[in-house]
Symmetry: D2
Subunit: 341 residues, 4 copies
Amino acid sequence: MDIIVLSHEATEEDIQHIIKRLAGWGLKINLSQGTERTIIGVIGDTSKVTEEEEDSIRAATGVENVVRILKPFKLASREFRKENTIIDVRGIKIGGKRIPVMAGPCAVESAAVLTSIAEKVKASGALFLRGGAYKPRTSPYAFQGLGEEGLKHLAEAREKTGLPIVTEIMDPRDLDVISEYADIIQIGARNMQNFRLLLEVGGSSKPILLKRGLSSTIKEWLMSAEYIMSRGNQNVMLCERGIRTFETATRNTLDLSAVPVLKQLTHLPVVVDPSHGVGKRDLVAPMAKAAIAAGADALMIEVHTNPEEAMSDGDQSLKPEQFEKLMKELKPVAEAVGREI
Amino acid sequence: MDIIVLSHEATEEDIQHIIKRLAGWGLKINLSQGTERTIIGVIGDTSKVTEEEEDSIRAATGVENVVRILKPFKLASREFRKENTIIDVRGIKIGGKRIPVMAGPCAVESAAVLTSIAEKVKASGALFLRGGAYKPRTSPYAFQGLGEEGLKHLAEAREKTGLPIVTEIMDPRDLDVISEYADIIQIGARNMQNFRLLLEVGGSSKPILLKRGLSSTIKEWLMSAEYIMSRGNQNVMLCERGIRTFETATRNTLDLSAVPVLKQLTHLPVVVDPSHGVGKRDLVAPMAKAAIAAGADALMIEVHTNPEEAMSDGDQSLKPEQFEKLMKELKPVAEAVGREI
Amino acid sequence: MDIIVLSHEATEEDIQHIIKRLAGWGLKINLSQGTERTIIGVIGDTSKVTEEEEDSIRAATGVENVVRILKPFKLASREFRKENTIIDVRGIKIGGKRIPVMAGPCAVESAAVLTSIAEKVKASGALFLRGGAYKPRTSPYAFQGLGEEGLKHLAEAREKTGLPIVTEIMDPRDLDVISEYADIIQIGARNMQNFRLLLEVGGSSKPILLKRGLSSTIKEWLMSAEYIMSRGNQNVMLCERGIRTFETATRNTLDLSAVPVLKQLTHLPVVVDPSHGVGKRDLVAPMAKAAIAAGADALMIEVHTNPEEAMSDGDQSLKPEQFEKLMKELKPVAEAVGREI
Amino acid sequence: MDIIVLSHEATEEDIQHIIKRLAGWGLKINLSQGTERTIIGVIGDTSKVTEEEEDSIRAATGVENVVRILKPFKLASREFRKENTIIDVRGIKIGGKRIPVMAGPCAVESAAVLTSIAEKVKASGALFLRGGAYKPRTSPYAFQGLGEEGLKHLAEAREKTGLPIVTEIMDPRDLDVISEYADIIQIGARNMQNFRLLLEVGGSSKPILLKRGLSSTIKEWLMSAEYIMSRGNQNVMLCERGIRTFETATRNTLDLSAVPVLKQLTHLPVVVDPSHGVGKRDLVAPMAKAAIAAGADALMIEVHTNPEEAMSDGDQSLKPEQFEKLMKELKPVAEAVGREI
């Protein structure tokens, strides 16, 4: 809250009332009385003014609008920390020159299938294995994931391939068991504003991959990162995975401009998930290349040995040979923008 | 999954493969071979086909598209239950001829303020007291609600006024304590697809008020109701509270057409919250009237004795005298559409 | 352009440069130097600053953002004209206590069908006949309207029933011929920002019904009204007909909150077209009632004697008996909000 | 219209009625009677069924839904023409291996400024000069372009630099004068569904650059291309320039996934305009690179020697030295995806 616009009808009494309240928060003002509007510029550290205090000013008699200039997030902001945050997971860096690729099935189905996929994506150059043991599904009648058994399969696959694992949390009560197995804990799009879950993982020491909500603004997304960081966990990476728009040709609209916008606003690494972003196998490769060209720090890509029999999101999973081809094609694109893969 | 559209390139082998898979699920087909496309009409009870099975068909070689005709929700559907569900809360019916109004502050702040508001809204004709003890806030630095203390204030206000209370749950771990106090448990917009929370309240015997997610389709919303109902709790009411669009003149875009659409698709009562829908005090009254004219079964309206000092959403709260005036204006509108208030 | 927010890096030279440019436009400033940001409050009549001048300030070195407080429309604004504009068309007032209903087919098909519809809607209480002679169609292969022949049919129907006619213009070159026949000229949603067409009808003396663009903000819509008014034609009415969102259960999302928002911002009459807004016959009646409850000054409703054979938008047209029933149901709703129909 | 879904209540008579109508259009059916729904698969060339005929079936008694499988565009479709369309403009090919860049100011301001910009962008490698002589502006009070004088400046700049010119048309009455000067005629986003204008340029022999509407689906966009092509002009290129979403961090949301989607659906060249897509100078370079990586055939980029004094869109224009740097950076990205620049 940095600028308060008063309406035509605002009285001197209204103005004094606002000045008094601001003074109570240690803030001074600079009054700019125009012919058509009077504007109050607030002087001082307005970042301490809470959302509800700002709302109360907005609700005051004579106030037409309140404009916030300062960003509402701090720990996540580029101003708080100039240099890029680099997250180290079992020796692999996210946020540096190298662009790690996280690959694997949408859902963990069996130890055998998972390990087979893990071996194949590793051979093609993936540095992380992704796979969901707890799956958020639109329908209560759909496969909900294998739970802890799935986590064990992931650990097994890690043992065999050395790939660290990324897996999703849906419930604060699962944090302990997931922490036992996961290397990176993912917060899915539908839980981006599950604030209790954010606070819970904020108390964890595991790196967090925070997916963007389907209709979340970049500012709201950074506020959710701030929730996690405010509890002490600074190892947050942001994952763009498509937003909801009117267009139906793709499952979601992958907002790649979010990548350079985030690079300006925050020091946190930016991951792109083209698989969920487009929802169609044939579109994954061009969008993966575009993500790298736009400045992504890491990619998350769905791969399945048998997409047709996949228990979730089969139509957007690459087959291992498609993934292998893509990895080869990504290499020169990364180099073209001064990165490596 | 009821219609499968094959691509130009689909071979006889592709078709046989699909027929075999469908047969495995007890389904027959009706092949419609056109000059440009071949279409498979699926015969049998396709509602048992899960989302992932449908996805796997979509991912099969030769398949261009899969169209689902049957609705994916059952217990919530009008076809499952023809007559309207009427939910009885301490003798007050929701879903009948009378349109109950739920009123109160956004957040519970103190016993004194809350009771004062409760008495005033009761005097104007409100039948429920709303108020949040656990508040989902965009910023970790904002007021997060009083927690159990807030619940106690609500219970106290209920004791003094007789108004049953509606309050929000954010975390499955809070169900026990909230159940001790609440008459209706609210699931907020941001948690509409917090599936674990839905399952948890599905096991409760308390009526649930399920708010629509900011970017949720009506179908997804009904699937979330289905989650709750699939666990046994049939007392679900759906609350429209505005969706996210490109328009910024209002906080959200209140989608009143959702009311008659829901009335066709489901037997569950439909509540409208114009306060969150528009986010501006002056717009609440016309939209409350419009909600009733569109067929709403209940309204939820924010009221605060001192909006300017409210700890949350002050700019959309009515003052008690404004609420009193509105209640008088709503009466003839309700009568005009054959209802009462 | 009323507030200029400077970035951290803005130098004294940058500030002097901006001050000098503002002075060139006769504007003074009020500098508010904060610890984190410096804000320039602009003093004087900033409404004369053009869009491109504002853009040039936004592009200046050291500028982070420019905030416009004053509304960019003048003639259309409530501040310019406090009392409601009432448009008189052949003795029927739009914008007064009475709520006229404009009814008829989407497209004019034949003189016989049109006159039959006109007689029926008149008998039910409609005060205007709507019908398109020039039809904007998504496909070049679809029926594009009868052109001047259709206008003649409209005039014939007017002669027989006395109902004034509303019909759409798509091309500035058609203004003369349409003006010969039409009583109100409609600008369709797709042409809301066809600025040449707006200027053209701005030079006409016919009342204009300006439909909202599919993804136009209320502000942009009022700017389009301003285009017309800036050329001299003050008889503009605004017609809400649904905006494009992610929801697919309805053809568009009818934004009824636009009605009270417009009532605050402008003196122009507000029309609602629930037929296009929802796109489904069964939803028209509840939304028509809701529109009146929200404060609409007029309604536009599609009616066809044989929707199944209609050459355009058959699935959203009411049958005459449905329209008759609706008109009876609208009466008490209008009275409930102090209007009549 | 390829599949007709009947409701529960459809009678034998309803079905016979539909069959009879389809027969009248030379179509046969394949009836698939399920336990819950009856589905009619339409056999024959349904592409001749017009939109209004489809609507009339949708409106028939007993019909629940009509699904169209075949694409509604023909001439623009990849199925109609397998190989990529390559448009030759004064010897420069659009749609081939080389990716031409169109650069220049948003609006033409003066001969001197324009020629200076033209010389600079040419030196950096641009192959076309862009610049608007007729400008669609939200406000009637903003600079509307220099008109024919601007066209003359463009021709002068072309003479001096050899760069062919791209300029926008807003009104069918301007086609003759614009055709005298322009090498490529641009249809702006706001006129994408100005169908009369589309038909007009469809009769021209000039190549057309068709920008995507702010809220147009890819299908609607291709239908607008079809409008132009149906009149004989096959030289259409499609230009993605951002769609309207809820996100406000960027001016629009550049939908790069439209590039590979279009590459599947159509044979027409795809251009990307990152300048309008993001609206902020700093974001243009990463999105230009991403566009090439996604498969764009050409780029359109705003450049101005003095963005601060630009009469339109100054905040998204690159300075010549920024453009020069970008052109160098684009080279390796183009090569990385097998193209050249």
